[in-house]
Symmetry: C2
Subunit: 413 residues, 2 copies
């Protein structure tokens, strides 16, 4: 008997029929004798409907109240799934984030989980009850409802798995696993049976939408075994999806490159003619961080004439706000010459733990792009990843040629 | 400076535009220097949408889970109104039933309020914050979300007014006060400036939908001054609605009859040939009460041949269930001859505190109905009310002729 945490996303919960499907899947796992905690998202479209309604009432909704409102999407889902389970004879009980309680900080709309109380859940689990938990939400220490930000249901699932020391955390989605790249762009993309935690982390951070990055970080930190599966496979035809392994567990030879990831949700900002002195990066990025804007790539070139240019990327949705802050606060304060930006860019990355022991990956990547005349605007690297920023219009082309260049369309030996 | 509790129903909160209207109305009261607690219902249609969704997933939704789900309607409303208030510069803060906390028993979908914590609200009120509370919901002592049953937002408003010892509880609806009868049936119906609490209680119990009966009971018990107003009157053209007075406060001459109320939401059940012995009423109604079905009128005639007939009315929605219980449990148990019922009936009532000092109201009522050939099926009286059950098809006719017979279309002197 294992303790399994399952997470079902909005598409899996998208209609009454699909919710009954999820209930039958949960019932099959339960019938195998496992203890089950099921985390669910709002029905697809519901969160956007609620956000649109808020915008209809208020141009700039109060974040605290936005969380009160948006958290209802998952609250509806937990009730519906519990009803569906009880209907087929499986004892189930819904829990909101506050009822669990999933304690978070008070950063409304982007809260971070601090602690999870497990006493109530343990009691129900031991009594044979399936626990249905609202993803994406928590409660701060004053009792305010908080949300973890979009996609936060994955994080809820992994955090619950960590708190309960679950044997496995299964993330059910509308795809049947992690692919070498997005099959909508490269039809030859292949499903990976396993991928290392570090690769997954890079892919998620690069915009691969199978798993949300914070959930992967959490899984890494607490060594939660994660599996990505499809919730649409028929009974009897289920596959095992993709298991996210910890490298040290793996005895297999790793491929050099596991996948090509990309992210079109990026924008680039450059502060030109910044005085080249200590503390300048902090003055620029500190102001951005204070506004709760996450920064992705950061590049500062060697200066000349006592000044330098400082570039970074942010989520495209934050672009107007970041531009305004740089213009109105940072530029006069640090005495920069100008602020420029571009929100028609994308990031394309090659990811693979094998690149640690195989030099030449970067040069192969740059050559491949150059041969197609694609100009590279920014470069950033880690031990297991090389990312480039290019004009958005080259996204599909860049992904396709890199996927082919690294032979990801060929079956692994 | 007064402490005022306002309650806005689903129609008042029916669209973003209307919610902004409510916010402006609240802001005007706040600008007069009052402390405000605002209770809101779900946007009109929302509760029905949620109930339909539940039915789509489960033919017989688990009551606990139904409450988790349906309570989200009001949760959305409180967030939207708080946003709208903050937008126009009025500090506001939303509270779910659990956040208040409004402690109820655990009768899901029909919970009763046991206690209201006022500490958090007091602190916010003293800080000048307008408090927005989700109506219709509470939380039991185990932390389960409960709802008070349909129309329960009025009860929430009155209960909060009682707990906070508010100066007045204002119930905003889509009508501008209490009328002598429903103007859709009798165009000559007049608005009452005041009505006694007892009359209001009878009218509510008789199906007059301006106020929910439990809220009136609560108001009476805790001597909460209630006022019914319209939320659709324009700024500068607001009227004072109808004040619900306590008779002892009133120095005015009371009219004999204040209004004609009616209720088409009734069904009649009769147990025929019941042994005429002590305890039989308890055996019949106890079983019905155990099934959580509310009984309205009860009639038992003198028996003959050692048996009697026992009739009562229930809410029409409970009719099939009540009939089944009588047939399967009560009939064999008490040895009754047969069970019959009729759900095509209605109840029409004349209500007025003046009838205490003016005999002849009943005979005038019966004569008026007889002259139009309307057969009376059941009669029930209280000190200030006479109710008759008649065939549903006579409803409009009966209301019109009684309204005229008691001269309710004439202005009061």
């Amino acid at each position: 008997m294992a303790l399994i945490v399952q997470k079902y996303g909005g598409t899996s919960m998208g209609s009454p029929e699909r919710i009954r499907n999820v209930a039958r899947r949960v019932a099959r796992w339960k019938a195998l004798g496992h203890q089950l905690v099921v985390v669910v998202s709002a029905m697809s479209g519901e969160t956007n409907r609620l956000l649109a309604l808020a915008k209809d009432v208020s141009p700039n909704p109060e974040p605290r109240e936005l969380d009160v409102m948006v958290s209802t999407g998952e609250q509806v889902s937990i009730a519906l799934l519990s009803m569906a389970l009880n209907d087929i004879g499986v004892k189930a009980r819904s829990y909101t984030g506050a009822q669990v309680k999933i304690l978070t900080d008070s950063t409304f709309t982007k809260a971070r989980i601090l602690d999870i109380e497990e006493a109530n859940m343990r009691r129900d689990l031991e009594g044979g009850t399936v626990i249905i938990v609202a993803g994406f939400q928590g409660v701060d220490e004053l009792g305010n409802i908080t949300t973890l930000g979009r996609g936060g249901s994955d994080t809820s699932g992994v955090a619950l798995a960590a708190a309960l020391k679950a044997d496995e955390c299964q993330i059910y989605t509308d795809v049947d696993g992690v692919y070498t790249t997005d099959p909508r762009i490269v039809p030859e993309a292949r499903k990976l049976d396993h991928v290392t935690f570090e690769e997954m982390l890079e892919m998620a951070s690069l915009g691969s939408k199978v798993l949300q990055i914070r959930s992967v970080e959490f899984a890494g930190k607490y060594k939660v075994k994660l599996r990505v599966l499809s919730s649409f496979e028929e009974e009897g035809k289920e596959t095992l999806g993709t298991l996210i392994t910890f490298e040290e567990d793996s005895k297999m030879e790793q491929p050099i490159i596991s996948g090509i990831a990309f992210n079109r949700d990026e924008a680039k900002l450059t502060v030109l003619g910044v005085p080249d002195r200590p503390g300048i990066a902090y003055q620029i990025l500190g102001t951005i961080a204070d506004a709760n804007i996450d920064v992705d790539m950061i590049i500062q070139n060697v200066g000349h004439d006592g000044t330098t240019d400082f570039s970074f990327t942010v989520n495209r949705g934050e672009y107007p706000r970041a531009l305004k802050i740089l213009d109105e606060q940072v530029k006069p304060h640090v005495g920069a010459r100008a602020v420029v930006g571009d929100n028609k860019i994308c990031k394309v990355s090659a990811v693979g733990v094998g690149m640690r022991s195989h030099p030449g990956v970067a040069s192969k990547m740059f050559r491949t792009l150059a041969e197609e005349g694609i100009n590279i605007q920014m470069i950033s690297t880690s031990e297991i990843k090389i990312s480039v920023v290019v004009d958005e219009k080259y996204l599909e082309l860049a992904v396709r040629i890199l996927h082919k260049a690294f032979e990801l369309d060929q079956p692994t030996v």
